[in-house]
Symmetry: D2
Subunit: 328 residues, 4 copies
């Protein structure tokens, strides 16, 4: 690919996350600042295939930095997994004179981008937008910090009613394969126990811990459960199990669900999005491709997409230990 990149497209893909709009804004404004044309692609790869494009200028992204969701819409797209779908997408990009694109999304979106890059030698840069924080090559993904605040605010509210009634709550949070949200929000919310996909504490240990918590005089208990918890039981089954084996508690369940994906982004996510968008455009203009923008040691970095999607950010063993100490 030659270095003459004159028109850059931006799209959001996969599950949405807070900060995506701030990242779109940053890509659009960086293009305007550097005098490169910018085109928005709606509805992720589906919109790429269908040519659902719109020319963007600096004013197109006014007043979106603090909005949740994505103004470009997002979607999962099966067609883009087929060579035919990608062919159509490439035709559309060529037809529109687009020289490169920035995709904001998770590992599924990045895999698509990488394959597309290999097939068509088309410059692509990824920005990690997902609340799960499960992508290698960045300490924080876009939206993760906001989701953590949403979760602890919800649990603070649940704690109010839990401690008024001396109740035990199982609270399910997002994280099918990784327990970052559960572990961090659990520590942040002062949870008595945290169940994550990476570890199987065993149900005996849970009962033991809850028993101890009750005896220590705590007025309520909150157990955070990641969606993908290894215990083999979902949150409702856990409730039944505890009610049966430890009938000292009045147990309730709360599934936080999709509200974790929404809301105005935190300042951190807005700044991160702004920094990442600048880097993504600059990388493309420097002739780079198939890289993911990340943040490591508070510096913006670039990692090959191939590496980013292979690994996961590992759960922090030190933080697991902190969580145990905090429930003393």
């Amino acid at each position: 690919m030659s270095s003459v990149i004159k028109k850059i497209a931006v799209l959001t893909s996969g599950g949405d996350s807070p900060g995506m709009n701030a990242a779109i804004r940053s890509v659009v404004r960086t293009c305007a600042y550097l005098k490169v044309d910018c085109v928005a692609i709606y509805r992720g790869y589906q919109g790429m295939i269908e040519g659902d494009f719109k020319v963007m200028d600096a004013r197109s992204v006014n007043n979106i930095i603090n909005k949740g969701g994505t103004i470009l819409k997002s979607a999962r797209c099966n067609d883009f997994r087929t060579p035919e779908g990608r062919k159509k997408a490439h035709d559309q990009l060529v037809k529109a004179g687009i020289d490169a694109f920035v995709v904001i999304g998770g590992d599924g979106s990045f895999t698509g981008a990488m394959i597309f890059n290999k097939e068509y030698n088309f410059p692509v840069i990824g920005i990690p937008g997902t609340i799960d924080n499960d992508i290698f090559g960045t300490t924080f993904t876009l939206g993760y910090d906001t989701a953590l605040n949403t979760v602890v605010e919800c649990i603070d509210k649940i704690r109010d009613t839990a401690s008024s009634h001396n109740r035990l709550f199982f609270v399910e949070v997002m994280g099918r394969d990784v327990g970052h949200i559960a572990l961090n929000a659990g520590v942040g919310a002062g949870a008595e126990e945290i169940l994550i996909p990476e570890e199987n504490l065993g149900l005996d240990r849970l009962l033991e811990s809850l028993k101890r918590s009750k005896e220590s005089g705590k007025s309520s208990s909150i157990v955070i459960v990641a969606e993908g918890d290894k215990s083999g039981k979902n949150v409702f089954e856990l409730k039944e199990y505890v009610e049966e084996h430890l009938p000292i508690y009045d147990v309730r369940v709360s599934v936080l669900g999709h509200m974790q994906r929404g809301g105005a982004p935190s300042c951190y996510d807005r700044v991160l999005a702004s920094r990442m968008g600048v880097k993504a455009v600059e990388a493309l203009l420097e002739g780079k491709t198939s890289l993911m923008v990340g943040i490591q040691d508070n510096q913006i970095t670039l990692t090959p997409i191939e590496k980013a999607i292979k690994g996961h950010t590992k759960i922090d063993k030190e933080l697991i230990r902190v969580s145990e100490i905090m429930t003393t």
Copy 2:
């Protein structure tokens, strides 16, 4: 009962609601202001039976006006439904020199208070603390306004992700017998459809409405469902029904659950609690009993508890019409 009330007790009972602490604070401080002794009863009627009392002064309630839940704990109490239980409770009150009490809670708590008053001619005043707004004799119950704000904030977040993916969400809110939260939060959140216990729209109408909403070009749809919705289907069954009969939507479910009961009270609920607490104590000192404090036309009023628990505040027909117009 003579008019020489020298010691007043305060308790919270039944499900908790935001503003209960502000009401406790108000009762305690009004007693201090009027030079009457004040005693807190912990864990509702259970604590009354067990004599779980604590002397309160003006400083005992510092910094609680903005806290959710209840510092006095709450509980449902079966023993108080028996003559034996109430006998024990009366003995404890007499032993502690308590001349009257203020109970903050819902209709179950008020029923208990009324029976107790009849049996022992013991002065009682009720303050309506429940998020459901289902008590006759007051336009607003304590905690209702806060719960509405919590619900619309959650739905605002869900809307972010719903509209990013063109999805349909069924959101279940509290309200087993009454649809006040569903109807008001539904209008406040701009819901496309609202299902409440008071009306059975029929599932055909729901499908029709959702079809129309999609055709009108809306990017997402939120359907609010009160727990006690009359359709005969819960929120998960509704999802399945719509997916089967209207396969144009990607459908998701969110059950907001207990977080609706928690959180810092709104300014309205704090002020309402402060006003109600003053009135409750003053009514007792004026020799009144078996009354519930309420707010009507922005004035603090008194209603016989007997009337308060018999009726429900009816759903506002005009607001149902407004909700239909808003989904145009």
Copy 3:
């Protein structure tokens, strides 16, 4: 004016308030529902004079119910105070085929509307949008409830730092002529003293009260001061006065300022706006004019604009008493 109203305009005027967008949405959607054309006027009366209009349909107001400010912009307009300005405005309305308008604003905006109605027999209905709650004929103005929540949330934060340092804070809130925000937010935030335009407590009483508060063992003190406080001193002068005459406090000042006008509206304001918008359009279609929509005893009402702008909602004497009791 004949009853054939086929095209209704909506504008926002004067200082903005949360809920204005929800009211605009309601007017637009009610017009759509009732098959009446709807036109937005930008920048208040200035835009009316300049013919800054835009045709609106139900989809034009998607996703604005929860947005602060006003999408139609607002402005104060001197030209509309002159007969020439109003003549131009009328010409523009006639040219655009507009038969009536709904103005969302405060008493200044209503005065203009009333004069215009008298001069041109042009149907107008007002919706009271102002955070000050200073308009006769409605218990609550649009935006007032939200502003109260904003103020108590700010003071909750200030309280955190005040009580960590045993400090005294003077917090200035909006309300040049009326003390509704100061009084209600003061009670809601647990302020130790509240200074409002309606009453002159005298500075001696303030010193006395602060001295007593310190002696009673309170860890911090918050004094709320309305902009138009009668003491004759602004908030910075009050600070100096107290530091000089009562050197037992470390005193700080905080002026909350314009953030009180912004933010997502509370559920109450969103519902109120929705109800008021419906009523405004319906009133016009019923041939009514020169009325203001209000809420009284939780019912939507109509009051002659002439009466609305003459009177003020009086400060609640009972609440002043409650505020005194609460600072015990």
Copy 4:
């Protein structure tokens, strides 16, 4: 100092910041977990001098992780700057059998701790609690993340009203010597211009930038000004200057003030506090002293206090560039 540390004290000192309570909780619980006695010192070094101590166990810190401010109170203390004051403090510590202490505060507090350590060979560890993020040896200080969120939420509200009226706002944020809050919150809030102590843009450049912003069609402008801005003008003088030299704007001022120090800590600050508290206690038990706990590259680290107080975390030049690009 021998390694037999059996009793550890904890205090907060200097200006308070959100997360201090979470750090206190962590120190207390880590002591409990590791079977070391723990004592709280009230009112910072002043309380140390006066022996204002309280024994803490794991339950003493229930339900404070989400509370702003510090339950131990804080104060600036001149006496501790004198050898006599420090002598008294040491006597009190010895008398109470305290072997070491953890001080949560800023560089002033650390300087005192370091001198005390040198004079009495008394083990001390510091935890950086300040919203200013101005301490060397940690990428983030405790409370900084929360303060940023508070600031952007306030500016989001101000933006609502600013853009409704096409106004220019000067918003003053904290940061006397460093512009971290101004720069990051400025980028996060989408400010048109950011004035920080580290750089002197010159007033001509400001006027130029504001003129361009107006011409580009922006509906409002927000200029963030750090307290210690180098322009030599405070925020009110800036307003006057701009009104005089660029009369195209309606200009307003907002000083955010002390609310920036309060509020429930963000999840990030709660987790950071929990991790730092564990490390502080463990470091003392390992015989370490005169170190500050920090976070670097998402790992908890230790830095000599001497180094921490000498340097400042420098302003991020890359972020200044990002901020310029974003205002395109």
